[in-house]
Symmetry: C2
Subunit: 328 residues, 2 copies
Amino acid sequence: MAKASSLSYDPLAIGIDIGGTGTKFGIVDRNGNVLFSSEISTRTHGAAIDPFIDELYDKLSVLIDKAGGIGRMRGIGVGAPNGNYYTGMVEYAPNLPWKGIVPLAKLVQSRFQLPTILTNDANAAAIGEMMYGAAKGMKDFIMITLGTGVGSGIVANGKLIYGHDGFAGELGHTIIIPNGRLHEGTGKRGSLESYASATGVTLTALEMLENNPDESLLRGVPKEKLDSRKVYDAAIQGDKLAKEIFDFTGYILGMALANFVMFSSPEAIILFGGLTKAGDFIIKPTRENMESNLIQVFQNKVKILVSHLKESDAAILGASALVWDMKG
Amino acid sequence: MAKASSLSYDPLAIGIDIGGTGTKFGIVDRNGNVLFSSEISTRTHGAAIDPFIDELYDKLSVLIDKAGGIGRMRGIGVGAPNGNYYTGMVEYAPNLPWKGIVPLAKLVQSRFQLPTILTNDANAAAIGEMMYGAAKGMKDFIMITLGTGVGSGIVANGKLIYGHDGFAGELGHTIIIPNGRLHEGTGKRGSLESYASATGVTLTALEMLENNPDESLLRGVPKEKLDSRKVYDAAIQGDKLAKEIFDFTGYILGMALANFVMFSSPEAIILFGGLTKAGDFIIKPTRENMESNLIQVFQNKVKILVSHLKESDAAILGASALVWDMKG
């Protein structure tokens, strides 16, 4: 079926996922098959947006030709940090090279002459999960991306929650520990992202190594090389301190998830991103702490699922899925 | 217009609001005019539900006759603590006299022979605000009731969020202070309700009086008579400790509201219930602490509004409004 669809003349969608370092893009059919894909650096042209759009156009044109030409393309979906669905603008994205407010959807649309729709990267991922992934068929779920930062996309009543201004779903910035750890990017204290991101896990590791006299494999790692991957490698070798680092991360994340459940009562929470590679080291304490903070009516009901979409495809899929929802 | 409507033969709706002590009910026209209303005790018959339904039927029948007879009644909307919209059941409501799971919608429907729909009391209030109150015309808002407990109703994309199981919107039970104050009813620690309810304010007052050597008008109040009203009376006379009690309550509530904003990015948060009578003593610190915990993109955008519906009417209005949304 997938092959047949890719060879037919059904319309296709372009998905673009703009990240802090790389920009991935691909051409996707209606069944969620990524037919062609490629990647460029987001940072080659520094703060200049026009040459970035030009390079994107050149590289994508090659794929468009392979896929049967521009006439088959229904439109373009773009996921980007701080992307606003209502305005098509990327607004003050700390991790992107372009400063201030960038009219990204408009720039892409006029370069490609194709209808273009923008949303933030985590919302795009949530749509991808709903259409092709772990949340298929669900009307109420929350997607949490545990990467360098913590992003989220929330679906209720079968629809993504964009909120009044298009910025809903910034669960990484909710305060979990009042007056807790400082988040350098926002200046706020105790947010979920300051603990449950890859960066947060590294900070927890540094703190625990300093405050804890126990022996640990992590003491052999130079401080500047310490990251969540190294903590995982140590945990899998039975390192007690490494496990405690994940236990603490799960304590924070579980408490946060309990609060999210009591907000929108989702069928499942889908976790996605680098930290999920730590598997049960992080999932088990997260689930335990979520359950222990839930009032009775919510207990033992909410699934915690790890996304099974290929990481390189998921973001492109989600962005492309926006196209099928476009009006007109 | 309202008068004309009430005298015409347009269909009417019955709204019933079941509370821990009293049950209010009324007959409402499509414009939100409460034409007739009355009240019975929720507790007269103890744990027996059937005689309660009988008494409700007798008292309501008088109003139905006054309003033109049963033929004009389109249906019945019921708001009750722990009421489930999907199942029509009241499930394990700690503040109601009936134990376990009560098929309330079914019981009302068969006694009155009218289509009946149930939701929880805070959701009913949110619908009332959306149709007739401070949230009129809004598609994204959160309603918080600050009474004996803390309830909530969340509207996103113009629809109430019921969640996967009908229990969404239990924001009073979200954890704001990890390992904080014990909530006697749930056994959980640090929930919003344990601080920002009328009960929570009384507990804060008792704690502050014990741990603070300052003079205060509240020291003249016998401990068992201390309540949020007495704290307000003292604050309005310039009592420093009384103001600190509200400042602390606003610190907790503001932090919680910031988290809710970063979840669903509402146009406004509507506050309702007894504690709002403290006015700026509670609203000002709440607003300040909400803003200081929000990341930039949300700052100075979200209105905090106090419901202006008459308290006795609002709950009946909200419950009756469910009827106009019924299918079939």
